[in-house]
Structures are given as structure tokens and as C-alpha cells.
């Protein structure tokens, strides 16, 4: 399932996938896979993404 909230939050911060990936210490393709719904990140990576985008886990990863 696509993670549109993540994509919207990244766009709101004017970050590219590459920039967000660098902030989280992962590859650009991993961020892309998460946004497309092709990969479920670990809680550790979820927290890193939330910190980079100033959002909570509920905001980005809970339905």
C-alpha cells in the first residue's frame, strides 16, 4: 500500500527522496520503496524518517 502521507510530508518540507535518504542514512531507492508501498520499514527507520520530517509515527505510518 502506497504511503502518500510520507510523500506529502516530504514534499511539504521540500525534500527530494535523495535528501531524505541522506538524512535517514538509507539509500534513495529505500525511500522510494517505502513511498510506493514495496517495503515496510523497521520501527528504527520509521522513527528516523519521522525525526527528519518533524512528524509523529501516527502522522506518517498509521492508518
Amino acid at each position: 500500500m502506497k504511503n502518500l502521507k510520507l510523500k506529502a510530508a516530504r514534499a511539504a518540507k521540500d525534500l527530494s527522496q535523495e535528501e531524505l535518504a541522506v538524512l535517514c542514512g538509507v539509500s534513495r531507492q529505500t525511500i522510494s520503496a517505502i513511498e510506493k508501498g514495496d517495503y515496510n520499514p523497521s520501527i528504527k527507520l520509521c522513527i528516523a524518517i519521522c525525526k527528519a520530517l518533524d512528524k509523529t509515527l501516527d502522522d506518517l505510518f498509521w492508518e
Partner: protein, 171 residues
């Protein structure tokens, strides 16, 4: 004398490649790692490469050792099976962007593959032209290893180029 020259040529080539790789890798940061998605997919890649090598090896033994079809020497058949497994792993990882570490560009891998394809390709062409690829009408390891290496790394090089240009288009 010929064998000594061939050995010396091989040693010189290995030294040249090692120096090129050292100089290129010296420029790269040392702290690059694989991220969690990459590790998971690489594990799947290792599994598929191993399974492919086992199946190819079993098929090679079945065909060659039982002399059902005199395709090749047993050594060459097992070497081909090993390279098929290696190429399976490499192509699987390359096409899923998990071959290189986070932030690693992989330019030197492209150069290295190109050098291997070129050097082994030239050796293979020479062996085909002078007929040393066959021994008593059967391909042998010593006659065909250059050809197998050249073809294997050509497949890997093509996969690297496809991902490089597809990745640039994605961005």
C-alpha cells in the same frame, strides 16, 4: 617459455587492476554500509545465487559425468555452474539497487568489469582463432575459462549500465 610469459602477463594484469582499484577506492569514504532493505534483499540474492549454482552444478554432473552428452570437461562444467550462480546473485542485487552500499556510486565496478570483459574477451578470441578452445573436440577449462569469464562479466556490466541509466531517469 610460453607458459612463463602467460603467467607473467597474468600477474602484471592483476597488479594493474589492483592498483587501479586501490586508487579509486582510496577516494571513497570508509563508513558506507548497507541499509536494512538492502541487507534483506541481498540475503534473498545470496539464496537465489546459491540455489541456481546448485541446480546448474547438478545438471552439469548429470550431463557430463554420466556421458549422456559430451558437452565439456567436468571442470569446465562446474566452473560454468559456479559462474551462473555468481552472475545470478550479482544481477539480482544490481536490478534491485542493493549491490552497492548507501551512497556508493560504483563507478570503479563499472571500470573493473569493463577491464575484465576486455582482457578476457581478447584472450577468448585468441583461443577461438588458434583452436585451443577445444581439446579432442571437447571444450576444456583451460581453453574456455577466458570466454566464460568474459561472458559472465559482460552480463554483469550490462546490468550495471541498465541500472545506472534507469536510476538517472528515475531521479
Amino acid at each position: 617459455m610460453d607458459k612463463a610469459f602467460d603467467f607473467l602477463t597474468g600477474v602484471v594484469l592483476v597488479v594493474v587492476i589492483a592498483v587501479v582499484v586501490y586508487l579509486i577506492r582510496k577516494e571513497e569514504p570508509k563508513d558506507r554500509q548497507y541499509d536494512e532493505r538492502q541487507l534483506a534483499l541481498r540475503a534473498e540474492g545470496y539464496k537465489r545465487g546459491f540455489q541456481t549454482a546448485v541446480v546448474a552444478g547438478a545438471l552439469a554432473i548429470f550431463l557430463v559425468e554420466l556421458e549422456i552428452v559430451p558437452l565439456a570437461s567436468a571442470t569446465l562444467a562446474m566452473f560454468v555452474a559456479f559462474m551462473i550462480g555468481l552472475v545470478t546473485f550479482a544481477v539480482y542485487c544490481i536490478m534491485r539497487d542493493v549491490f552497492f552500499r548507501v551512497g556508493e556510486k560504483g563507478t570503479y565496478y563499472l571500470g573493473l568489469c569493463a577491464v575484465i570483459v576486455l582482457s578476457d574477451g581478447v584472450a577468448a578470441v585468441v583461443q577461438i582463432v588458434d583452436g585451443s578452445i577445444l581439446e579432442n573436440g571437447v571444450p576444456t577449462f583451460s581453453g574456455c575459462n577466458a570466454l566464460v569469464m568474459a561472458l559472465s562479466f559482460l552480463v554483469i556490466l550490462v546490468a550495471l549500465l541498465i541500472r545506472k541509466y534507469a536510476g538517472e531517469r528515475d531521479e
